[in-house]
């Protein structure tokens, strides 16, 4: 869509996508766990796994700050996982985890914006380390050790293969050096003896303890891994086997008559263990259900939204082309039975295609809703208010573009409710309300619109207070009694309007509600506020299902055509003579049912030549946005139709009063009127 979008390496793109998704997921789990003061095995595993993934991916992308932090959190949850009944300081733990999430999110968004991920996670890592230490101190060391650690290690082997004959046995001594930086040298050494054991009859190695001892890694790096073994296999076979070792830097292989002294010493204290490679091992993980749950998750793929935008654009073009072909003026007056039949089929299919593309772009609001959990948690903690967030209808779907626009407004509204709406505990108890405040987030479908409702059971809006404030700012000239609740509450949507005298960290700075309104306006939505003092407030946002297709009224002005969104039209009528009056400044107005409405002549606004200038020759279309209503004067009405909205090309900087454009069936372009833009003139 936007031409200046940065093209990133696909690897980075995937990293950003996955990290963002994992952080959202983690945030949700964390808040849930903290709320319930309980952390189940599944949740622990999940958090552990997320951290593990983030650690590895970040390390590979060289985002070390993120990797180190993820690692320390992984350690923390490893400890919790391995110790069944630890005492967890939930508040401390999840404060840390959530701070960690914020840090990682911040860094990822830096990366996304092509900045350096230069934040330091040092203090968080320190906190995590000290929390782990505290936990270990209060709970004691790891109780439930790996089973494998308790088991006597099998350091010496005599395989069945070796028992067969003693005559042809040859003794070898091999010293293996691994490449620098290959890591886990001890496990690599273990791999060697594991692979050799099938062809050797006895084997000794130094260092002896290659798994349990941490020193073994260092020793192998310094002195190499020394193995002595006897085998009936020919030398070439032995060499081939040893040269197949991954990350082999140097191999010294000697055929010897007698093992050197150091290996002999081991032989003296040998305990023979007959190796049974098929011995069933105990997994050191307890929860691995044996289910074949395949396929299900794979049926979902993720697609870049810009591709969907392109697809939608294309479908829009197809819909238009279809109309251009089937309604082509060349066909007029012709008897075309077969053509019409085929054309009908084409129309049916293009409509279906359009529906499907639209449905692809629909996403449930649940993600956006669940983000509010975090805000409620953080704020209720800071302000010491006990708050419950109820979410209803999170499965309601809206267009992806719209979701992006409602996230911020919703955040403002929830903050407002918590900050201004809900009372302190004492005040609530005094007015017979439950101790815990309640905020409800609801989404529901109604016709072609979606309603998003934020409701709280707080103190409600004070009608009188808002009126006084509005009067003080010179916004009203009517007495209080003449205004409806709706009209009065609408004042709080105006820029700079705030009834709260004290400014808190979260709200009350006078910015907020007007920004909410602006955001909602931009997607063609409306806000309405209901409130009862002492009972709480309800803010309903009505938004269209999609931005891409709207119902519009086609009107003509001179040679041009315009589309007015049906949602903002109240009525249209032919004005009678003398109905139009002008005030002293020359602003035209019309009286309808005792109310005066301003008239905007579209031909004047857009500088268009038309013969229709007398009011009785044209048509008035009354439009409204939240608070205002006015009449648009146009030449004539053409008809109502669904149009595919296209953005105005970027080379047109700013066109006030125009929301976009659409291509009509005959190939002409029609500009879509931005009613808000015109009423705000």
């Amino acid at each position: 869509m936007s031409g200046d979008e940065i093209i990133r390496e696909p690897m980075l793109e995937i990293y950003i996508f996955e990290a963002t998704q994992l952080m959202e997921q983690l945030e949700e789990i964390s808040i849930e766990c903290e709320k319930n003061k309980e952390i189940g095995t599944e949740a622990i595993n999940e958090i552990f796994r997320v951290m593990h993934t983030i650690k590895s991916s970040s390390a590979m992308m060289m985002f070390n700050n993120i990797a180190v932090l993820a690692h320390s959190l992984e350690d923390l949850f490893y400890y919790i996982r391995e110790n069944d009944a630890v005492n967890i300081d939930f508040e401390k733990l999840f404060d840390l985890v959530l701070f960690g999430i914020d840090f990682i999110k911040g860094e990822v968004s830096k990366i996304e914006n092509n900045n350096n991920a230069d934040g330091s996670s040092e203090s968080l890592v320190k906190k995590s380390t000290s929390l782990l230490k505290d936990m270990k101190e209060t709970n004691g060391v790891i109780i439930k050790n790996d089973l494998s650690e308790k088991r006597e290690d099998t350091k010496y082997y005599i395989s069945s293969y070796g028992n067969s004959s003693n005559e042809n046995k040859q003794k070898y001594v091999a010293r293996i050096f691994y490449e620098d930086g290959c890591e886990m040298e001890n496990v690599r050494a273990y791999t060697v003896i594991h692979n050799l054991k099938d062809i050797v009859s006895e084997m000794y190695h130094i260092p002896e303890d290659i798994i349990e001892s941490n020193d073994s890694v260092e020793l192998i790096r310094k002195n190499g891994f020394l193995i002595g073994f006897s085998t009936t296999a020919i030398k070439e076979k032995v060499e081939e086997e040893l040269n197949g070792i991954v990350f082999l830097r140097e191999l010294e292989l000697q055929q010897v008559d007698e093992f050197p002294q150091e290996l002999k010493a081991l032989k003296a204290k040998t305990k023979i263990v007959l190796e049974d490679p098929e011995e069933p091992m105990e997994s050191n993980k307890e929860e691995v259900p044996h289910i074949n749950k395949s396929g299900k998750q794979q049926s979902i793929i993720s697609v870049n939204i810009s591709k969907l935008d392109m697809l939608l654009d294309l479908v829009g073009e197809i819909v238009i082309s279809e109309a251009m072909v089937t309604k082509n003026p060349d066909l007029e007056g012709l008897q075309l039975d077969d053509f019409n039949k085929a054309a009908r089929q084409l129309r049916k299919l293009t409509n279906e295609l359009q529906d499907i593309v639209m449905s692809i772009r629909m996403v449930p609001v649940s993600m956006t809703f669940h983000k509010m959990n975090r805000i409620v948690r953080d704020m209720s903690k800071k302000q010491n208010k006990d708050v419950e967030l109820e979410i209803i209808g999170e499965e309601t779907e809206v267009d992806k573009n719209i979701i992006d626009h409602i996230s911020d407004p919703l955040m403002h509204l929830v903050r407002n409710s918590l900050d201004h709406g809900l009372e302190e505990e004492g005040e609530r108890l005094a007015s017979d309300k439950p101790k815990v405040g309640k905020i409800t987030l609801e989404a529901k479908n109604a016709g072609g619109d979606v309603f998003i409702i934020v409701r709280d059971d707080g103190r409600g809006l004070d009608r009188k207070k808002i009126y006084d404030k509005a009067k003080l700012q010179g916004l009203v000239n009517k007495p209080l009694e003449e205004l409806t609740d709706k009209e009065i509450f609408a004042y709080i949507l105006l820029p700079g309007f705030s009834t709260n005298d004290s400014v808190t960290e979260y709200s009350g700075r006078g910015v907020g509600m007007d920004v909410v309104k602006k955001n909602i306006d931009s997607i063609g939505g409306t806000i309405s506020i209901e409130s009862e003092i002492g009972q709480g407030s309800t803010i309903s946002i009505k938004i269209p299902l999609t931005l891409a297709i709207i119902d519009g009224l086609e009107v003509a002005v001179g040679m041009s055509k315009y589309t007015i969104p049906i949602t903002s039209i109240r009525e249209s009528f032919k004005p009678k003579e003398n109905e139009v009056i002008a005030d002293s400044e020359g602003n035209e107005m019309i009286m309808i049912r005792g109310e005066a409405y301003l008239i905007y002549r579209l031909h004047q606004i857009f500088n268009i030549n038309t013969k229709v200038t007398t009011s009785t020759d044209g048509i008035m279309v009354m439009v409204e946005d939240n608070t205002k209503a006015a009449c648009l004067f146009v030449d004539s009405l053409i008809g109502e139709q669904q149009v595919v909205v296209k953005a105005i090309p970027t080379y047109i900087k700013k066109a006030k009063g125009i929301a976009g454009c659409t291509i009509l069936g005959d190939g002409n372009i029609s500009l879509i009127i931005d009613v808000n833009g015109i009423l705000d003139r």
């Binding site: 696909p10 690897m11 995937i14 990293y15 996508f17 996955e18 595993n45 999940e46 552990f48 796994r49 593990h52 993934t53 650690k55 590895s56 991916s57 390390a59 590979m60 990797a67 790996d146 494998s148 650690e149 490449e179 290959c182 890591e183 886990m184 001890n186 496990v187 273990y190 791999t191 594991h194 798994i211 197949g244 070792i245 991954v246 990350f247 490679p277 091992m281 997994s283 050191n284 993980k285 691995v288 259900p289 044996h290 289910i291 074949n292 749950k293 395949s294 396929g295 998750q297 794979q298």
Partner: protein, 120 residues
């Protein structure tokens, strides 16, 4: 043998699958499938019959070790490479015991992958 080796990648992280796939393809391997957990890896192994399977250790639904056991039970000649991280030594050793032929440690670079897979 000039046959291109066919590989099945198993990892729950899209990023890891993507990176590993790119690196393996650079080494001349053909990545024939991807699985996001052990259970899917087993299913895909049976269908695709790849020459090599990579198994991440920490995965949801079914982890790498469990998948290794199952794949080995189905085909005892299966060539499995574990994808591990530092700190998982014990699990890697167990995997080797169960028949994994090698392992790679995350984070890895192209060179690591080239070396770890070149001798197969």
């Amino acid at each position: 043998m000039n046959l291109v080796k066919r590989i099945l990648i198993t990892d729950d992280a899209v990023f890891m699958r993507f990176s590993l796939k790119a690196m393996l393809e650079k080494c001349g391997f053909q990545v024939v499938g991807e699985a996001e957990n052990g259970a899917i890896a087993i299913e895909k192994y049976k269908v695709l019959k790849p020459d090599i399977v990579t198994l991440d250790i920490t995965m949801p639904i079914m982890d790498g070790l469990e998948a290794l056991k199952n794949i080995k039970a189905f085909d005892k000649n299966a060539k499995v490479i574990m994808i591990s991280a530092m700190g998982q030594e014990t699990i890697v050793r167990e995997a080797i015991m169960l028949g994994a032929i090698g392992f790679v440690i995350k984070p890895f670079i192209q060179e690591t992958i080239t070396k770890a897979f070149s001798k197969l």
